[in-house]
Point group: C2
Chain length 199, copies 2
DNA sequence: CCTCCATGGCTAACTTTGTTAGCCAGACTC
DNA sequence: GAGTCTGGCTAACAAAGTTAGCCATGGAGG
């Protein structure tokens, strides 16, 4: 269990703004996350927000950090629980289930965090990699890990966007994917991820 | 090989507008696809576009139809080629390679077509399903098919968005996924997809 | 031939959005 | 007590999608 990287520091007021932004985003969707609407929630005027953040993208970057941190924490916890259970559980299945759960729990934050290019300069260093590490630990091998991560993201985002036909049994589709990837997992237990193809 | 559904009919002028929109989108990105910029390319003023489309979303829907149609055509062709080759090729690998190729060939159109909810009322009926059918034909079973599709979409969108670590060997990751899914493909060849969990 | 009207342009203008400029009140520091 | 930092404010702008309403062209029907 690696320790979580520290998020970019925020003043108390900035932290309040990010909290309000998160509620607004989650309750009313991405289009509703507007500078004026956010200011309204805080009882101030839109331009005042610029005393705390350089632009709207900076607020979104702070939200993305929270999304990454919570995702990473959930995945690390699920992996640890699986590995330390008696008998140990299947790590790939455990990570996949945790990933789906966190994506569906905060759909708009998930979308914000995972869609489009990441503003990496604005994110705490190491955070993105830390959040993805459980896939590497569960897969035991970097190529399988990236394939697993891609599958998981594809499943969540297509479900959130309503792209599956009505009535699809997605539990079964997730199980199918988990079995396909688990079958290719190298025996010999979990290894540290190699340096060459992480993420 | 099923026949492609007909796209929604367009007047000649509307077709010109969609063509211009496509060039604009592909050359300058999604943010550049603005009503005024599109009008500029056509040598007219922005409000004139509303004589041909009810709103910007209608132009985007026409673009999505083209994206779905081209994707579907490429996937059906790749699957047919694999199945009718001597000796027959591996259908899952063939469909995956074609999917990646078409996504990377038109990144902005791919993103537009596959991100966010689909405006299904504005799309030619049957088109979405037809485009996805090759996954079902290649997988031979609907749950594996949806898992395969999710994997493919996750891979393409994460690559387009630059989410993989620099230097990742994505060819190898694609191959890893192809092997994982191929191993679970039901023997006995390709079946028609069932009605219950298509897409 | 002349009228009618559908087609497809146009200008002007409005709303919403992100953003900047510049002012000001309170609080803390030297 | 003077100054400066903090965090509000109003006014205003540019870019976006969109609407209202005017006008030229051109083909159809009498």
């Amino acid at each position: 269990m690696s320790t979580e990287p520290e998020l970019s520091p925020l003043t108390p007021r900035a932290a309040e703004i990010v909290s309000a932004a998160r509620v607004l985003l989650e309750e009313e969707g991405r289009d509703a996350l507007t500078v004026r609407a956010l200011a309204d929630r805080l009882g101030i005027r839109a331009p005042s927000l610029y005393k705390h953040f350089s632009d709207k993208a900076a607020v979104e970057a702070a939200l993305m950090e929270r999304g990454l941190a919570e995702t990473g924490a959930a995945l690390h916890a699920a992996l640890d629980a699986a590995l330390h259970a008696t008998p140990p559980g299947e790590p790939i299945g455990a990570v996949l289930r945790a990933y789906r759960r966190i994506g569906l729990a905060h759909p708009n934050l998930y979308r914000l965090t995972t869609s489009g290019p990441l503003p990496r300069q604005r994110l705490a260093p190491g955070l993105e990699e830390w959040a993805g590490t459980p896939f590497f630990l569960a897969a035991g091998e970097p190529y399988l890990a990236q394939a697993l991560w891609s599958f998981a993201h594809g499943m969540v985002i297509l479900e959130l966007d309503g792209r599956y036909p009505e009535g699809s049994d997605l539990d079964r589709t997730w199980a199918e994917g988990a079995q396909a990837f688990t079958a290719r997992r190298p025996r010999g237990g979990v290894e540290r991820p190699g340096a060459e193809a992480r993420g």
